[in-house]
């Protein structure tokens, strides 16, 4: 439910233009006259330093502000007694700061994820992990990049539009039963931000982006992503899961126009002998 709630907050954040300022986080106070992003997302809950729990990797200076690769590295295993339940990825100075909420479970084995985001201005990028016992942990990186949200989409438009809705799953070679295997789900989608302008009509290209990515394995959900416009075009998520037996990975992707894209891929893990 928290996930839904934070997703619904996004338009509010957009209107207020609030930011997740360093002071708000460090001092745990409200951000001047209007509520800070931290308060909107996490209320008055304490957020602990993420040392030993998670690390955030992001380039100091982005090569392409519209495609900034970030990795949230989990430093604790996904043990049933205590695991990382959600990772919220936040780009402070983006028009819509929450880039995505990534939901995971012990089935992931490891909660490490990588994705690609748009960065609109020099900003802190943050990851907040919530563990299954309800504790929040935080890691951040400062990224120098600008213009990523209004940057034009698609290098090769004909190819990109012809491919729209295609899903791709990449799996590490030779998955082993019972061991975390790295996977990548790729969605071909322009993820229009609503901030890209049509120069001739002076209108903005309407926002049209991937809202939800759900990945199941053998009937169990192994990843659920609530996305928004701060995810780059052709959203990509690297994640881990632990295959226990041969089965199908299925994915269901829904965009803001209600389009549903699906895919299925067989997985045949080997036993580790």
């Amino acid at each position: 439910m928290e996930v839904r709630a934070s997703h619904l907050m996004m338009p509010v954040l957009f209107l207020l233009g609030v930011s997740f300022s360093d002071s708000a986080l460090a001092e745990n106070t409200t951000d001047g006259q209007r509520p800070g992003l931290k308060e909107i997302l996490f209320g008055d809950r304490e957020i602990l330093d993420g040392a030993g729990v998670l690390e955030l990797e992001a380039p100091k200076r982005a090569q392409d502000a519209a495609i900034v690769p970030v990795t949230v590295r989990a430093l604790i295993p996904q043990a049933p007694e205590r695991y990382i339940k959600t990772i919220t990825l936040i780009v402070d100075r983006n028009p819509v700061p929450v880039a995505g909420v990534f939901n995971m479970s012990p089935d992931n084995g490891l909660a490490t994820i990588s994705t690609r985001i748009r960065v609109d201005a020099y900003t802190d990028v943050r990851a907040v992990a919530e563990t299954s016992d309800g504790t929040l942990y935080h890691a951040s990186r400062f990224v120098k990049a600008a213009g990523g949200c209004s940057a034009p989409a698609m290098k090769d438009q004909d190819t990109a539009l012809a491919r729209m809705g295609r899903l791709k799953l990449r799996l590490e070679e030779r998955p082993i039963v019972g061991a975390p295997v790295k996977a990548q789900i790729l969605v071909s989608h322009p993820n229009y931000s609503g901030l890209q302008m049509d120069q001739l009509t002076r209108h903005y290209i309407p926002a049209h982006y991937v809202q939800s990515i759900k990945v199941m394995y053998d009937g169990r959900q192994i990843l659920a992503v609530e996305g928004d416009i701060s995810l780059s075009e052709n959203p990509s998520v690297h994640f881990y899961f632990v295959p226990q037996s041969a089965g199908d990975i299925t994915a269901e992707v829904i965009d803001t126009e209600g389009n549903v894209f699906t895919g299925a891929w067989p997985v045949t893990p080997q036993s580790d002998t």
């Binding site: 090569q63 495609i67 990795t71 990588s114 290098k155 090769d156 052709n234 690297h238």
Partner: protein
């Protein structure tokens, strides 16, 4: 010495002096009295300004790509217009220093700002603005973004710069006539961008490649890496006597220039495919791919990583 040749010589000497004085200096604020761009003749009636291997600054007016013009019996065709209205105005003065024939055609080889942002300087000539069938779409998607970046980098020197979309579209191929001189314009499939247009002047065998060929400066992938390698193969086959690249000096040996560029692009292709097959992330690829070419190209550190990101997101869909 006839009066006419004396006048021409005088104009030439004066022009050279002005070029020496002006090259590297920002043009005056008044675009109507701009100093001519220092163009060189590479074949009869073919004039080229070789852009600087720099990012756009108020100093270079965004004239960081090549541009120039071709003079026919009745009219002039301009090929690319520089990175700002002022750069375009300086190119227009260079045309006027050579001929008073009307400028009937302004050809944009692709959407990048250093090739289209000087169009406004020619609006008063009422030429046909000619571009690839995808150029307008690309201007729609990127124009505002480019103008924003231009205002940031040029400041007041960006004044007067605006987007002028094509008034005539090349679907696959078009021939225009400058009066006894025909230019063949070819629209290419996605390569450097998805709107690359080349210009061939049959009279001198001169091929203007636009940014399908980079010389000295690192090639920038903004369309399709695989498409670009295919496009280069087609250009090699034209057997042009002279080649005007989109960046860098017209090469004495065009095939060697294509070889150098293909070498870099193939390296990207091979190394990124290996990286993807290994399941590596973009960050990993950025740190290693293409590095062995670092010493060969100007602005390598500014663009190689970006090329890797672009090509990686293309090739992971193979």
């Amino acid at each position: 010495m006839t009066l006419r040749s004396f006048t021409l010589l005088g104009r030439w000497v004066m022009g050279i002096t002005l070029w020496i004085a002006a090259d590297g200096m920002a043009a005056s604020a008044d675009t109507t009295s701009a100093v001519p761009m220092p163009v060189r003749t590479i074949a009869p009636g073919v004039y080229v300004y070789v852009g600087r291997h720099e990012e756009a600054t108020p100093h270079n007016l965004g004239a960081t790509g090549n541009m120039g013009f071709i003079v026919g019996g009745e009219s002039v065709a301009v090929v690319d217009t520089g990175g700002s209205a002022r750069a375009g105005a300086r190119l227009r003065e260079a045309v006027r220093a050579v001929t008073h024939l009307p400028i009937r055609f302004v050809i944009n080889t692709h959407v990048h700002p250093d090739h289209v942002m000087g169009n406004a300087a020619f609006a008063g000539d009422e030429p046909e603005f000619i571009g690839h069938r995808n150029l307008q779409r690309a201007l729609v998607a990127r124009g505002e973004y480019y103008l924003e970046r231009l205002r940031e980098s040029l400041g007041a020197a960006a004044a007067g710069t605006r987007i002028i979309p094509p008034t005539r579209i090349v679907d696959t191929e078009v021939t225009i006539d400058l009066g006894g001189r025909e230019l063949n314009l070819v629209a290419h499939p996605a390569a450097h961008t998805d709107n690359d247009l080349t210009v061939f002047d049959a009279a001198t065998g001169t091929l203007w490649t636009g940014d399908l060929l980079f010389v000295e400066r690192i090639p920038v992938v903004d369309g399709s890496l695989k498409g670009w390698l295919e496009g280069t193969a087609r250009l090699r086959a034209t057997g042009a006597a002279h080649v005007v690249p989109g960046h860098g000096h017209p090469p004495p040996d065009a095939l060697a220039a294509f070889d150098a560029q293909d070498g870099y692009l193939r390296k990207l292709l091979t190394e990124i495919r290996i990286s993807i097959a290994r399941g590596e992330s973009i960050e990993h690829a950025v740190a290693s791919v293409g590095r062995s070419e670092a010493e060969k190209w100007a602005l390598f550190e500014d663009y190689n990583a970006r090329n890797v990101v672009t090509a990686f997101t293309e090739l992971e869909w193979e």
